[in-house]
């Protein structure tokens, strides 16, 4: 990886962080009237994985999808406008934060039913295979998805048909507020389940963006070559509450000490230090980046706020296709 790629990855992680911080700041104004699930602390998985894809490749995601959308090349203005329920949003206010859909950047959609998009992404990979195209699909999942039957149904089929799909599991240890120990046995790893389906697995540190990028590159090469699906498990951690703009260490389902341990492994902070140590990134560059990103964010929020709401008459449009 050359230094310009490194700077791009750093810049993209920083952008996602600052965007989500601004969403959190502005949320109290009650103008973004939809549930939001922020990915602060998990930026490396989105950025590292999407950096290994081509523009024409596809991804599908879940309730925590802002980072995935932006990392895949989504339009920030259209995303913020969607959160504000505006006509200029990527689905004209029909979807909101939990249903970002934007084919123009290969982001085929997100949904909050746990595991809901996994078979759909698998079906997209199936259509690619049937059409003998070269694209690959990433299905972003959380650790709880492997508790759903549909995950196993999808992996079984993907392996059976050798589909070009990469299941990227962001294991952040919690499903809403329920920790791993109440949900899954400690006698096996998540990736062992994928292995059980005959699916090749890779795993690593989800807060190390270069490691994520390297692992995903291998996975993409494998999937694109027709060898079949591949499962990538990445360890990471959600800093904020499951849904909403706040920290929630005080409510008691996890400890402050655990949070602090993970905060030390901040994907952006770590990478920043690494790049500075290697003289790829300077303090002044960081300042410039923050200023530029800040400007873009301000413009995007201003765009969203001044955009019109969808026409009232659109509420029942697109129930059926012609």
């Amino acid at each position: 990886m050359n230094s310009s790629q490194q700077l791009t990855m750093y810049q993209e992680m920083l952008r996602i962080r600052l965007v989500e911080e601004q969403i959190a700041n502005a949320y109290a104004q009650n103008e973004m009237r939809c549930p939001i699930h922020l990915s602060i602390g998990q930026e490396a998985t989105a950025v590292g994985a999407c950096a290994a894809l081509d523009k024409t490749d596809y991804i599908m995601s879940n309730h925590r999808s802002h980072g995935h959308y932006l990392a895949k090349g989504g339009d920030l203005k259209r995303m913020i406008a969607e959160l504000y329920g505006k006509a200029t949003g990527c689905t004209n206010g029909k979807g909101g934060s939990m249903h970002l859909i934007d084919e123009s950047c290969g982001f085929l959609g997100a949904a909050p039913i746990v595991g809901g998009t996994v078979p759909i992404a698998t079906g997209v990979a199936f259509s690619i295979k049937m059409k003998m195209h070269r694209e690959v699909v990433i299905s972003f999942i959380g650790d709880a998805v492997v508790e759903e039957g549909v995950f196993h149904e999808s992996l079984n089929f993907a392996e059976l048909k050798k589909l070009p799909i990469i299941y990227v599991c962001e294991n952040n240890l919690y499903s809403v507020n329920s920790p791993m120990e109440v949900r899954q046995p400690s006698t096996r790893q998540i990736r062992d389940l994928a292995k059980g389906h005959g699916v090749k697995v890779l795993w690593g540190d989800g807060n190390d963006v270069e490691q994520v990028w390297n692992l995903t590159r291998k996975a993409v090469a494998y999937a694109r070559s027709g060898k079949g699906p591949i499962f990538l498990e990445l360890a990471t951690y959600r800093w904020l509450e499951h849904c909403g703009p706040n920290y929630d260490n005080h409510i008691g389902y996890r400890t402050e000490a655990e949070f602090k341990r993970w905060k030390k492994k901040c994907p952006i902070g770590q990478y920043e230090k690494f790049l500075q140590k290697n003289r790829v990134l300077s303090s002044s560059q960081i300042k410039v980046m923050k200023r530029e990103i800040g400007n873009e964010i301000n413009k995007s929020f201003a765009f969203a706020k001044k955009s019109p709401f969808p026409e009232e008459s659109t509420f029942n449009k697109h129930v059926y296709a012609n």
Binding site: N92, L108, V124, M130, F157, L160, V319
Partner: protein
């Protein structure tokens, strides 16, 4: 040119035509390629169109429905089939949350041209989990279309139209219809979704039915005609979109209405039809509408007690006569009954399913 073929053959012709006419159409279903070919409906199609376009699949109803949604989203036209509707309960998440909503959630950006064929069982000890009619579960959901053909002609024309439709379509075939005969043109044709048909014209009472209930309704109408009662039979063909006009027109003519539903009454589709008539055709009504439906319990297996559960023609005739204040002779009816046991569609039917 038209000739007489069976309902299952009409289905197969519709699939055959659609595979030849729609390059992106493909069939998948457990047993779709086995020697029985889903009651004969898919026989020979794999040989003709290849393993890529007519395929068996894992026993994963929910996952494979999601796969079909994903493929449909990318421009394919999946046709999925299950040998009983009861299995589709495992896939309600993908049908209701995704198939029905993706076009809407994507603000029209994506279409989901998907057909799910489901077979409704009845009789021969099908029991609690192989004889449910769950059409009302699907009609409840905006974004889905629900089709229930009663004749071989409609089966072919509606299936071709369903496969060409750009929306998810739940296509329900009653097992007791698969071996019924009817006139079916050899060439392809479409029966538009959302149009009911007057299966028999009449002036005294409207009998509203769909799927196998249309056969029963026609029998009842014939019985009533012996008493000079002229019954009109409205075959809904499509439950969603529903041909409201056809129902209201018929009731406007007759003023009396009996709705036949192969499923339960409570929370079911017959209530939807009656609501429509009450809300929009109140002034036409000369008597309270009646509903004939399945007994309000799971269906037992033993033929000795399942006889109490399915809607029966004697009951239908009695209700119609009472509504019209005409005499009703149950003994006479029982004496003239066909003698076919209640748990088979005809005397030639053999198990297992």
């Amino acid at each position: 040119m038209s000739r007489q073929i069976k309902y299952f053959e009409a289905i197969r012709e519709a699939l055959d035509f659609s595979l030849s006419n729609q390059p992106n159409a493909f069939i998948m279903g457990l047993g779709a390629t086995d020697p029985k070919g889903v009651f004969g409906t898919t026989l020979g199609l794999q040989k003709k169109y290849g393993k890529e376009r007519v395929m068996d699949m894992p026993t994963s109803e929910n996952g494979m429905t999601g796969v079909a949604v994903g493929a449909a989203m990318m421009g394919m036209r999946p046709i999925m089939v299950h040998q009983r509707v009861d299995f589709i309960l495992l896939a309600m998440d993908q049908i209701v949350n995704n198939a029905a909503k993706w076009h809407y959630m994507s603000a029209g950006g994506k279409k989901i041209p998907l057909v799910i064929r489901l077979v409704i069982g009845r009789g021969w000890g099908q029991g609690a989990q192989h004889s449910q009619c769950l059409h009302s579960w699907f009609t409840h959901v905006p974004g889905l279309k629900v089709v229930m053909p009663s004749s071989p002609y409609d089966a072919k024309g509606l299936l071709i139209a369903s496969i060409e439709d750009n929306n998810p379509v739940i296509f329900l075939e009653h097992r007791w219809l698969h071996n019924t005969f009817g006139d079916v043109p050899e060439e392809s044709y479409r029966v538009p979704l959302g149009r009911a048909r007057i299966a028999k014209a009449g002036s005294d009472i409207s009998i509203i039915a769909s799927s196998h209930m249309v056969i029963e309704a026609l029998d009842v109408a014939q019985q009533l005609s012996k008493q000079n009662i002229s019954a009109e039979v409205v075959d809904l063909r499509t439950l969603r979109p529903l041909d409201e006009e056809a129902i209201l027109e018929s009731v406007a003519k007759t003023g009396h209405v009996m709705v036949l539903d192969p499923s339960w009454k409570f929370g079911g589709f017959s209530g939807e039809v009656v609501s429509l008539i009450v809300e929009k055709g109140w002034k036409s009504l000369k008597s309270a509408p009646a509903r004939i439906a399945l007994a309000d319990c799971p269906i037992p297996t033993s033929q000795a007690i399942s006889t109490q559960c399915y809607p029966n023609k004697i009951e239908m005739t009695r209700v119609a006569c009472e509504m019209l204040k005409e005499p009703f002779d149950e003994i006479e009816l029982i004496n003239t009954a066909s003698g076919v046991p209640h748990d088979v569609p005809d005397s030639n039917f053999r198990g297992p399913f």
